[in-house]
Subunit: 216 residues, 2 copies
């Protein structure tokens, strides 16, 4: 059911150009973010690095868009989430996570969660766990052809999630009318660290396009 | 009850030195993160900016710490969360949010949420809403003298949270033995956008220091 997330309408060469242009900047900035919390160089070196970053900012600031990437893409029928803080190619906050989905509503990802996401010492911030699982739940319901915004999100924390290499998966649990329930879990080296359930509401604009969406 | 978050043991001059050294780098990097998603300069300018960022990375990478800031601070009795992804002075992912707390367990903050936190077009990512509210709930129970890690977090989304200036508040709802229930809400220009409830469990090490903590 491809209409749910329609194939991106951006021509391939434009996608390649945008990736080649902005991908290296985002990648370098991710390293910079990590080093802001992990570097131990002396004050003089930090000052020199700050000047480098300010030079980059001065260049990029010359033309600033009027609308966000999300707003612009909405207008242009483009669905690539370049700016998303979890999966966005252009967003240095995003690890970025690559999500693999199946049409039955299964979604999964493997990713590295570095020190910039630390909450308790050595552990991923509980809110970052929620952020990643919320994103993954959205992929699951979207893959199932029942996209929507999160109505309710519940996270049960079973144990601390260690920083490092992690895996997460999500799946659609049940459907009833305009509502879809999806579940997800975060998995560390010692097993499941957190479980999530999300309730998603089908947007009004899509309700007449999904079978059985009128029953509740 | 100051023992819950003991006064940071770092001497004032060291705090001032760390803030003066790393604060400007983190601030410049926050602007850079914003521009990674908001700049519209041409490919040549982006390439030059990327080279600037790579130069900063090369400087900062010369000495990388072995432990995260959280782990190091734990060892040294330092509680300043410099690296926290919501409130950390050194973390460019953090807006950073400044939280004000009262001893009764009330916590609140005002902050600006920019385009790098976008989920749906023009709106804050639902997971980022969860991240901020989880952090704020933690401040509320900590201020009340009943700190802990989140056991369960539930977010109910009432309406989209627009990017821009936001306010959030949290408070302790009830206590029973080792458990503390706290509530929070995110508030945009059109009122409450999301409500949160967190259940916090008092860490074992603190249970004999809190009155009535043994009742359940």
């Amino acid at each position: 059911m491809n209409w749910a997330f329609p194939g991106d309408e951006t021509p391939d060469p434009a996608v390649e150009h945008e990736t080649a242009t902005w991908g290296p900047l985002a990648a370098a900035t991710r390293e910079l973010v990590d080093l802001c919390v992990m570097s131990e160089v002396d004050a003089e070196e930090v000052a020199a690095a700050t000047a480098d970053v300010e030079a980059a900012v001065a260049r990029l600031r010359k033309v600033r868009r009027q609308q966000t990437l999300g707003q612009e893409h909405l207008l242009n029928g483009r669905r690539r989430p370049w700016g998303n803080p979890v999966i966005g190619m252009r967003n240095p906050i995003a690890p970025p996570i690559q999500v693999h989905t199946e049409p039955d509503g299964h979604a999964e990802c493997e990713f590295h969660c570095g020190p910039a996401f630390e909450g308790p010492p050595g552990l991923v911030h509980g809110g970052v766990v929620a952020l990643v699982l919320d994103q993954l739940l959205g992929h699951a319901v979207g893959a199932r052809g029942r996209p929507g915004m999160t109505g309710t999100l519940t996270i049960v924390y079973r144990q601390g999630t260690p920083l490092g290499d992690l895996r997460a998966e999500a799946w659609v649990d049940r459907e009833d009318g305009i509502k879809t329930w999806a579940k997800a879990q975060m998995i560390g080296p010692d097993g499941v660290t957190a479980e999530a359930e999300g309730v998603f509401l089908l947007p009004r604009a899509l309700r007449d396009r999904v079978p059985d969406a009128g029953t509740s």
